[in-house]
Symmetry: C4
Subunit: 208 residues, 4 copies
């Protein structure tokens, strides 16, 4: 149990833990890659700490940060760092007040497709029933666009590149050669978005 | 334990739960997709409620409906809806008095093949020993035809399109871009049909 | 625990159960397909009974038969049948006195390759380190030939066709469109042979 | 619990056991293939014994050897042999004083790619974020070279061939048709390297 969390926040933290375990079994988080976060309050977030083997992830590998990505003093311990990609999470929360969970997976297919379509700066998905897995979509007769940004080790540069893409109203994005970011109003919705995009990636591979 | 069920019905409900877990582990029910049902009596059915993550499915996510797809009053709760595809299930039960279980999965391969062969309105499987996994087939020297209907968000339109296909004597059907429906006299047989078709899908992909 | 078995036989029965579970998790025994056996004594064998979902297989789904494939009277129960392919098992035991375990899996790749190479009546594997997974092979610099027989629903016809192949000294064989038979001095060795051939099948698919 | 080990060594032994289980579930150690080791002290190592089914691997299947690969007398038991490839492990420890764990997996993709690129004597990986899974790499804008040596049943010949490759500063190598060796300062790092290379193998397959 995590201290200082409300009953509902405990429940969400437990759900994100189960989602992390699910993604690990799927092979979507190899070699300590990937990161995950939850919004607790305006200026308090839980985020997975850096460098953990996701097949071994535990509740106290979630650490408390503020909206600048700084670890709250009571959670500062030797060797504990927030994910290098923390700024991606906090930027998404700043942009979308209704979003309370951000998930990033690193599957083989997401990685491969993100490189393969990098020059087109997006992948388009059309006509599949599972598009309805994305919030607000209630028919397969639509096209969903998932933008792709180039990979940068500097997070500010990376998020600046996303500026060109927000106009699409994307529900996630790919970083080229790196993987998928998506989000939702809660863990349940964000996990459903990860599963939806990963399924669409499988179809995209077969379509070729 | 589900109240108001006979010993045999409890057993079937438990088996459908195990089948749902099995399909989830196989990746055949991503992102809250898929639905499953059991016939209890002439006018009473158990069906999976809408919007549940199938990796978390529990016995009380099965709700009681009548043959019109209406939830029995004692099972009506806020936020509990029957599957949007309930009418597909009740139509199948109305057509086949001997059928007591209907299963719908949404695998990557079923989805992809259903789109790929949509214009031919069917997939044919021939010569494989595993065809014997389908009820009533006792030799591989036969051809099994699995019809495909276009995807419609309106269930009545969708089932009307199936009218052209019942003459084949199909043991299931695909909805284009959407997935597989099959059925059986009990959960055991219906699950065996799902496994058989999914296996045949894998072979069809390799045959190309 | 199975009655009437020695300590060593109990151990082998337990091992075959674990092997069956392992194969089921791998997806090598879909839709009640596949069968498995153990030699207990000259004229007594354990064999998997027909029609069981292998993800649910239990110790008492192993039944006692004699070398003609007849169920011993004390194991005859309504609805309990020996596998339709029992004669394949008893023929192999009759041919190889040192063999005490026969396993038959039905993987997608085994099924597909067995059809693809059916006209050549064999698949050849060459140069892979894992060939050493087969009994008696201690170098990768060798060629292993796995014969293929056409599929017959009549077991006598099927085994007659194998007559042309025994000269190769095969350690298993494929039935076209149907799957793999292999064997070993004990469950451990026979399971290793299954894993070896399934691995070689994966390589054969990639080699194309 | 293994006798004669310090608390930290016990922890590492437990971690290597969990890594072996993880690799087995991934299908990277079929048919008793693969081997694993830990450095305890200058002249004492734990190494997996030969011929064990890795899905059943237990703590006491790790045996104590010296730097010549000889089993310490108190661990000599009938039928217990050190891995045939023990010399590969001891050579790596002799070369790299900071390395305390050596892991060898035998996945389908590693095996296939090692043969496919054998004539080029190396595989190059470039531009993927997951390259950062390898120790000391902090950007995707780099190329990692994984050397390939021909397969020899004689370990001395095999390691002699590696002599041509150490100049690359490799973090692992492939044996053609045989599989992957990699290592790390501890089990955690070595396991991360296995996962990283296996992920890069998947991408290499898709890139073609």
């Amino acid at each position: 149990m995590l201290e200082g969390l409300s009953f509902d926040q405990q429940k969400e933290a437990q759900e994100i833990l189960e989602a992390i375990k699910f993604f690990s079994l799927k092979g979507w988080s190899p070699a300590t890659s990937t990161n995950y976060s939850l919004r607790l309050q305006n200026d308090r977030f839980l985020i997975s700490r850096s460098g953990v083997d996701k097949s071994q992830f535990k509740l106290d590998d979630l650490i408390h940060i503020n909206s600048k990505g700084e670890i709250y003093p009571e959670f500062q311990k030797p060797g504990v760092k927030s994910s290098a990609e923390t700024m991606i999470h906090t930027s998404i929360y700043a942009r979308f007040p209704e979003i309370n969970c951000v998930l990033h997976t690193h599957s083989v297919l997401g990685t491969w497709l993100s490189q393969k379509f990098a020059i087109e700066k997006a992948i388009h998905f059309n006509g599949w029933e599972l598009l309805k897995g994305l919030a607000g979509i209630d028919t397969h007769l639509t096209t969903v666009t998932l933008p792709i940004v180039y990979n940068h080790q500097d997070m500010e540069t990376l998020m600046n590149e996303m500026e060109y893409h927000w106009a699409y109203g994307p529900m996630g994005f790919l970083i080229a050669g790196h993987g998928l970011y998506t989000w939702g109003r809660n863990v349940f919705e964000a996990k459903r978005h990860i599963e939806t995009f990963e399924f669409l990636f499988e179809l995209k591979k077969l379509e070729k």
